[in-house]
Structure formats: structure tokens, C-alpha cells
């Protein structure tokens, strides 16, 4: 972990990437907190500009429309209400009223959110509450609703409940950082009483990391896939030597550690992380434990891509990457063997390779502490993705049977449902805007609540595309947002597509649909823009290829009557 001094120096770094503006609002002093956060974010290439407001100004900053908070036009407002300060307020309350403390505090916080939502488009990062046990009644405090322990725990529960009901608010689990570091390390009473700072200087880098993790995931940078070694990673021992019944797995001895590791991986998979296997083994031997051992938590059906051979792992990981069509920087490679880790790291520097501890008993807690799987949304569609990747293998096999690509595409019997944004698909649309990096013309990230307001705004026409073919369902794979510029002109504000459906005529189908939608609504001109990023070069020329005229660099236009429909083999439902 970086030291506070390193972070402080990093605040002076100049970055050229887009500036992200964040306001820190707190009831304690936050100068060091803000420096640490800015330094950490800059070290992760986020060009973070922070307005650090004076302590105890939250009410004023949020209720006064002319406050420096609103003038700053922030992208994010971070609300950090320190438990230490709350505790003082709690003790200043009459003892007969203390049982209402959590309820009244949550109302106050919801009120803050309300003001923010009324006056800005900023997203809210809400820190939860660290704990203080003042041992006023010892263990018995947990039975008495006027005790602080009782109320602060209730408050954290109420906070989770309220955040889950508000799309503009993102939680930051400060309590977990306190638990990780220990309460006596996290809080420095001398610092608090000499400066009103409630987090020790040595803890600030950990807090800054946690907040930066959230900012990165809101910016679309998060992990999508875990590639797993087998022997001594998923189970103890070498299956090739010991046979499937000789390996260590189950509830006994060392096997228990591997079993718990698998339980955790299974949960990741249920939340949408793709699991892949990359093992130096014969394929049959490698698959045997999955098929024959009931103690294996992970089943073959949980694994999207299973590669077991004697090739080098870097080549195999490239193969996995091509099949899944996601960036190396969204992949994590887990292997107990330092040689394999170093090989992969040196051949594919973008991939994340945790330095797994030697003792399997420590795998799980080590990986959990790294917090590699921060996300900004979850959607139900995730659950069906493993099946989709397996279907993709079936398609790849079929592909080789046909001599012409057109014959192959026809044989897929593809059909597509086109519909405007609606309540059912807001989460999936928001998730796609946050996840899609490659086929994404302007890479504008939207939250669920922003998608909802676009859907309800007459200045926009919206389209979603859901594809299926004879092998299965792809789900919602493309999003279009058309912005009305004037009575005759539309602008393609957003066009993104899942890379899983590339080169099947879906692009052609979509652009036909965009032109037709424009015509049906009496628009004659469509303007478009390509904003280059490190990842979206694949769509650089797409508008040119669809007969748009380039008016200036990366800006395009077309008239609807000059457009001729492009051939494809997709039926609209």
C-alpha cells in the first residue's frame, strides 16, 4: 500500500485525461482525507479535482443554491458523516430520545440526498458508519435501544436499505476498512482532538483505495473474468498423478480451504463474473473431478471456457480472450505457481495476476482483501451468460461446416426484438453503457436513473435490440440513443453493442433501423460522432462504412433519403 506521503506527492501529478470533479462534504476535517483520495486516484490515472469543504458545513452547502458545492458543478458528491461526531451529538441528546437516533439520522441523510438530486446531476458517494463501542452497558448494550452500539448498527442497516432504493447513491463501505485495519489503528484520538480528523493518517491510503475502486467501476473499469488454474489452486494435489479421488477437496483437512475458495468463486459467477479454466493437464483428466466428485462446488456448467492442454499459459489465455471478446485488463489470472504467474504477467502485462500466498488456507482472505470485483451495477441477465458462452462454442463448431459466411448466417435463423427503453431494461441498459468499451462510439456512461430520465424525455428517441438464434438467447445486445437537435436533425448520442454478436449482420440491421426510425418520425438528417478511446478503435470507420459523410474529424452526417438499406439475415420480431 502507498504511504500518505506518497499520495500527497501524487496530488501534484498532471494528467491529461478528462477531469472528474468531486466535492467532499463532512462533519469532520477532511484536508488529509481529500489529499489522500486525490493522490490515490491520480496514481490510478483518474484526473480527480476535489473541492474540500470546511467541516460541519453540510447543511449550508446543500441548502444554499449558491454554495461553493453547487458552483463547482461536481460529477460526484461524497458524503462522509463521521461516527465520532455523531457520537457526541448522540450523548448530547436526552437519554429518553436516544432510541430515535438512527431513524432521525437516516432522515437527515435522505434529506441531503434530496437536496443534491434537486440541485445537481452529481452522483452521490455515501460512506457508511464506522463503529464505536463505548461499553456504556457492556455486552448488555445490544439489548438496550438507547445505547450507541444499538443505534449505530441500526443506522448502518437503515442506510443500506435506503441506498438500495436510490439509484443516484453509491455506497462506500468505510466500516469494512475499519474492520480490516482494526478500530485502534483506524482512529487516532490524538489526531482527532488536535485537528478534528477522525481517520488516522496511516489508514487514509486504504480509505482512498476503496473510494478509488468505486470511481473506477463507475467509469467502466472492472473485472469481468477469472481464469483459474486447477492443481493446487482449485483443489489440493495433482489430479494427473493422484486421480480424481486422490485430490484434496471437501470438508476435511486442507480440502476445506479449497472448498471455501470454490464457494466464493461460485458466488462471483452468480453475480456475472465469467469463470474460465486454464490448466496444464490432459483435458479428460482435468474434467474428471468436476464430473465425478460431488464435493466439487464448481461444476463444468459454471465454467464458460475450459482449456486444458500442454501449451504455454499465455497462448491459452489469448485463446480464452478471443473467445470471450473482452479486454485483457478485465481479466484476473489465479495460479499457485509463481513461474506461470510471471510468464503470463510478462507476456500479457494488462492482465491482473494476484501474488497468491503459498498457503492455500490464505488464498481466500488474500483475494477478498484485494477487492478486485468492485461493480457499479448488477443485472439479472448475468446469470444466463455462462450458458451463452457455451452456446458460442456450439456456434463456432457449426461455423466450420459452412463454406460461405452468408450460408452460415442464414442457418442461424436470427431474429431481433427492437423496443424503446422501458422500466424492465433500465438496469441492463445502464450496465451496458458502463461495461462496453470496444463497440462503443462515444463511451458515455449512464446510471440507471439517467437512463430512466432519458427514456421519459421527449428530446430523445431510444432503441434497444435483443437478439436470439436457434442456439439460444443473446439478450439485450445493443443500445441506441438518438438526440433531437432540431425539427429535421437527429444526433446519435450513443451507439454501443456487445462484442459477442459482431460480424453477424447486427450492425447492418441496427443502422437500417436507426434510419427507418428517423424517417418514421419525420427527421431527414442524422449526425454522428466517434470519440476515440484506448479501446474503441474497432468502430473508428463504422459510420464511413455505412455511407455517412465525414464533415470534420470524427464527425459524420447522412440524409435519410440518400441511404440504401444494408443486407443482413436478421428478422425483426
Amino acid at each position: 500500500m502507498y504511504t500518505f506521503m506518497q499520495l500527497k506527492k501524487a496530488t501534484l501529478t498532471t494528467l491529461t485525461s478528462r477531469e472528474i470533479r468531486l466535492v467532499v462534504l463532512s462533519n469532520v476535517s477532511t484536508q488529509f482525507f481529500s489529499s489522500a483520495l486525490q493522490g490515490y486516484a491520480k496514481l490510478q490515472n483518474i484526473n480527480l479535482n476535489i473541492l474540500d469543504t470546511d467541516y460541519n458545513q453540510i447543511d449550508f452547502q446543500l441548502t444554499d443554491i449558491n454554495s461553493e458545492t453547487y458552483k463547482f458543478s461536481p460529477d460526484y458528491i461524497l458524503l462522509y458523516i463521521s461516527t465520532e461526531k455523531l457520537y457526541e451529538e448522540f450523548l448530547d441528546t436526552n437519554i429518553n430520545e436516544r432510541q430515535n437516533f438512527a431513524d432521525s439520522t437516516i432522515e437527515r441523510i435522505k434529506n441531503y440526498w434530496h437536496y443534491i438530486n434537486e440541485n445537481t446531476n452529481a452522483r452521490i458517494i455515501q460512506l457508511n458508519f464506522t463503529e464505536i463501542n463505548d461499553n456504556a452497558l457492556g455486552n448488555f448494550s445490544n439489548k438496550v435501544d438507547t445505547s450507541f452500539v444499538y443505534q449505530i448498527r441500526k443506522l448502518n442497516y437503515l442506510l443500506n436499505e435506503s441506498i438500495s432504493q436510490n439509484n443516484a447513491v453509491y455506497p462506500l463501505d468505510l466500516l469494512s476498512v475499519q474492520l480490516q485495519l482494526g478500530a485502534s489503528n483506524f482512529f487516532d484520538p490524538v489526531l482527532y482532538y488536535s485537528s478534528k480528523m477522525a481517520i488516522s493518517i496511516n489508514s487514509l491510503p486504504y480509505v482512498a483505495k476503496s473510494i478509488t475502486d468505486v470511481l473506477l467501476s463507475l467509469n467502466g473499469q472492472f473485472k469481468k473474468c477469472v481464469i483459474l488454474d486447477l492443481d493446487n489452486t482449485l483443489w489440493g494435489g495433482t489430479v494427473g498423478d493422484l486421480g480424481p479421488f486422490g485430490i484434496e477437496i471437501g470438508e476435511l483437512g486442507r480440502g476445506h480451504a479449497f472448498t471455501d475458495f470454490q464457494r466464493w468463486l461460485k458466488q462471483l459467477k452468480d453475480y456475472g463474473i465469467i469463470l474460465a479454466v486454464c490448466s496444464k493437464n490432459n483435458e479428460d483428466a482435468a474434467k474428471e473431478p468436476f464430473i465425478k466428485l460431488p464435493d466439487m462446488v464448481l461444476k463444468l456448467s459454471d465454467i464458460s471456457v475450459f482449456v486444458a492442454n500442454w501449451e504455454d499459459k499465455a497462448s491459452n489465455i489469448r485463446l480464452i480472450q478471443e473467445t470471450l471478446n473482452i479486454g485483457f485488463d478485465s481479466m484476473v489470472f489465479i495460479d499457485d505457481n509463481p513461474f506461470e504467474r510471471n510468464l503470463v504477467k510478462s507476456m500479457i502485462p494488462e492482465i491482473t495476476v494476484p501474488e497468491l500466498p503459498e498457503d492455500p488456507a490464505l488464498y481466500l482472505s488474500y483475494l477478498q482483501n484485494l477487492n478486485l470485483f468492485e461493480v457499479a451495477s448488477v443485472s439479472k441477465e448475468n446469470a444466463s451468460r455462462t450458458k451463452q458462452y457455451q452456446e458460442e462454442f456450439e456456434r463456432k463448431k457449426t461455423e466450420t461446416l459452412f463454406t460461405s459466411i452468408d450460408d452460415y448466417l442464414k442457418s442461424l435463423e436470427m431474429s431481433c426484438i427492437v423496443e424503446p427503453f422501458n422500466e424492465k431494461n433500465y438496469p441492463r441498459i445502464a450496465q451496458l453503457t458502463q461495461r462496453s468499451n470496444q463497440f462503443n462510439l462515444r463511451t458515455i456512461r449512464y446510471t440507471e436513473s439517467e437512463i430512466e430520465s432519458i427514456a421519459k424525455d421527449n428530446n430523445y428517441l431510444t432503441l434497444t435490440f435483443s437478439l436470439h438464434d436457434k442456439f439460444g438467447d443473446y439478450g439485450l445486445i445493443s443500445v441506441i440513443i438518438l438526440e433531437k437537435v432540431n425539427d429535421t436533425t437527429l444526433f446519435i448520442n450513443t451507439w454501443l453493442m456487445s462484442c459477442r454478436v459482431l460480424k453477424r449482420g447486427v450492425e447492418e440491421f441496427i443502422i437500417n433501423k436507426v434510419i427507418n426510425t428517423a424517417k418514421e418520425n419525420s427527421f431527414t438528417i442524422i449526425n454522428a460522432e466517434y470519440i476515440p478511446t484506448a479501446k474503441n478503435a474497432m468502430v473508428k470507420d463504422i459510420y464511413k462504412n455505412f455511407d455517412f459523410t465525414e464533415t470534420s474529424e470524427n464527425h459524420y452526417t447522412i440524409t435519410t433519403d440518400s441511404y440504401s438499406q444494408k443486407e443482413n439475415f436478421i428478422k425483426e420480431e
Binding site: 500518505f4 506521503m5 500527497k8 484536508q31 488529509f32 490524538v190 489526531l191 482532538y193 488536535s194 485537528s195 480528523m197 493518517i201 496511516n202
Partner: protein, 83 residues
């Protein structure tokens, strides 16, 4: 550790905290003699001293040292286990 050594070490820490490679603290140096030595960098200096010497200074020591010499005395006492 001798007071001279402590002073030298504090000077090294100070170079980092006050961002001045030519910093030359003496026993009689006070905060207002040093560029960048304000109430905030003071806290940061104290934290670095505590990390480096593996001691924990008291509130009165942090707020009450009248010059660098006295700060060095406090550190010296802590290292000797007198506090």
C-alpha cells in the same frame, strides 16, 4: 539514540514533509522559520516521526513543543521509555 542522531533523522523527515531538499533544522529552529511548516504539515511531520521512530507522541507534546530542540527532547524521552 543520541539527540544529534534524532535531530538528523527529523531533518531528513522534514525534507520530505516540507518539500525542501536544503532544509537544515537546528535545535533553535521554530515553525515560522520554515517554509511550508503550518498546522497541517505539522500533523503530517508528527505522523512521519511516529512511524519512523515507532513512538506515539502525546497531545501536549505535539501542540507544546516550542522549538525543534524540544521536539527532539520529547522523542528522546519516548525512545528511552520515560514516557
Amino acid at each position: 539514540m543520541e539527540k544529534k542522531e534524532i535531530l538528523a533523522k527529523v531533518n531528513e523527515i522534514g525534507k520530505d514533509v516540507f518539500e525542501d531538499e536544503n532544509l537544515n533544522l537546528t535545535e533553535t529552529t521554530v515553525a515560522k522559520d520554515v517554509k511550508n511548516w503550518d498546522s497541517l504539515t505539522h500533523l503530517s511531520l508528527i505522523n512521519e516521526i511516529e512511524n519512523n521512530f515507532k513512538i506515539k507522541l502525546q497531545m501536549r507534546e505535539i501542540q507544546g513543543a516550542k522549538n525543534v530542540g524540544e521536539l527532539v527532547d520529547f522523542i528522546y524521552d519516548h525512545l528511552k521509555g520515560e514516557n
